[in-house]
Amino acid sequence: MEGLNFNIIDISYLDLIISLGLIIVVAGISRWQGMYLEGDLIVGAVRTLIQLLAVGYILKYIFAFDRWYLVIFIILIMIIVASLTVTQRQKKRTIELPFIVGFAMTAGSGITVFVVTQILLQIKPWYDPHYLIPLAGMVIGNSMNGSTLAIDRIDSEIKSRKMEIEAYLALGATARQAAGASIRAAMKAAMIPTINSMMVVGIVALPGMMTGQILSGTSPLIAVKYQIIIMYMIALSVAISSYVLTNIRFNRYFTSDHRLKEESL
């Protein structure tokens, strides 16, 4: 590893408690300005502390235990939590929605992480949690946001394009053909944040993961190379998962004989 002459300052628990002072200042501003966010703010700050510390300990254990099934299990948990989060953000929840989202995200992040870790980086052992867990986490987190956007958008597109869709059906279009414009719009909506962040990365914002790597002593150039690959991984995984998701989701608005379901709108 490069940057050996860099000695990371460990943060003590006392330091963490003191850093809560930053939040106290924010709470003060909130009270002073009458925003009344103090309650949420304190809860949020404490949750950040507890959740991240818990993750830290879990990861430490996983890294030490070093077994493939534990790594896969953790990634599955991430996908499940992400799928439930996407589902929870929806107004129209159906029983099958978390499964569809889970399937789409497994496809998107699975393919992407596989290609990068096994073909490109060829990590050894293949399940090395130091690589697999952060990469999967980045990709799943972004696919989660992309999936939310894709579902919202395909639902609203199909509603607003109802007449156009029926005009297509009346000309002999399949449901998939009639929903084509809606699917394209939804995939686009899912992709745009990723494309935008590729445009400005490093200029407007330093990605959190890269910042973390640099702070922990990795050479900035290595950190940047990893970040480049991560950006590309996110793009591919969001594209795949929103493609899979929208191509399943549109079906709920149609019958098997290519009729728009009035009652589903």
């Binding site: 007449m163 156009e164 005009a167 297509y168 009346a170 000309l171 002999g172 004989d257 009729r259 728009l260």
Partner: protein, 232 residues
């Protein structure tokens, strides 16, 4: 009278527990013009939408050339039974882009025949030099003609029209009706048109089917219908 193209047997349609169509028995004849007339909410649109399976009846059977329409592949049925909507729905791009949509929807794409495009445009009352114009810049009347021309690309036997003139001004409405009459005469197209305007009904001619509250109250040839029609 020649043979029936479409037959409805004991058709009922309920929506949310409300009876929209009640025991409809009806025949539409090959190459003939038919007018569904009646007050708003009578169930005219619903009836029309059953014919190309945009909606399904709750009970009853619909036959097309003697065959249950459920046994005809639905995409094939919709090509044989074209539909024009109340509000003209045009797609992005030029007039030509709109007309070539039906070709592109086919699994095996047919080569686009330029003379077919212009022929259908002219049959619908638009000049062939419209082809390269932006469809969104046409007048409402021209847009509706374009949707008729677009439906003709599939070479349908039957054309369903749901109040095609209601978004058009009077002059444009009359012009469109003339074109519809011509389509019937030149192509032998079976016409089923919904309207609630008596004037358009009598102008088109053909068989008049009077629908009130989901029931057929009268069915007559246009000349007889308007001879003894006091009120509607």
């Amino acid at each position: 009278m020649n043979k029936p193209k479409i037959e409805l047997h004991k058709i009922e349609k309920n929506k949310n527990g409300i009876a929209i169509l009640k025991d409809i028995n009806l025949k539409f004849f090959s190459g003939k013009k038919h007018i569904l007339i009646g007050p708003s909410g009578a169930g005219k649109t619903t009836l029309l939408r059953l014919l190309n399976r945009m909606e399904e009846p709750t009970f009853g059977v619909i036959l097309y050339d003697g065959e249950n329409i459920k046994d005809i592949p639905v995409l094939e049925l919709r090509r044989r039974v074209g539909m024009v909507f109340q509000i003209p729905i045009i797609f992005d791009g030029t007039v030509k882009d709109n007309l070539t949509v039906p070709y592109r929807l086919r699994v095996i794409s047919h080569p686009v025949k330029q003379d077919e495009l212009t022929k259908n445009l002219e049959l619908s009352g638009l000049q062939s030099d419209f082809l390269e114009r932006k469809a969104s810049e046409l007048s409402v009347g021209e847009k509706q003609r374009l949707t008729v021309a677009r439906a003709l690309i599939n070479k349908p036997d039957v054309l369903l029209l749901d109040e095609p003139t209601s978004a058009l001004d009077h002059a444009a409405g009359i012009k469109l009706l003339d074109s519809i009459k011509e389509l019937n005469e030149v192509l032998g197209l079976t016409i089923i048109m919904v309207t609630h305007q008596l004037e358009y009904a009598s102008l088109l001619g053909g068989r008049v089917i009077h629908l009130v509250n989901g029931t057929i109250v009268r069915e007559q040839e246009s000349e007889d219908f308007f001879l003894n029609s006091e009120i509607i």
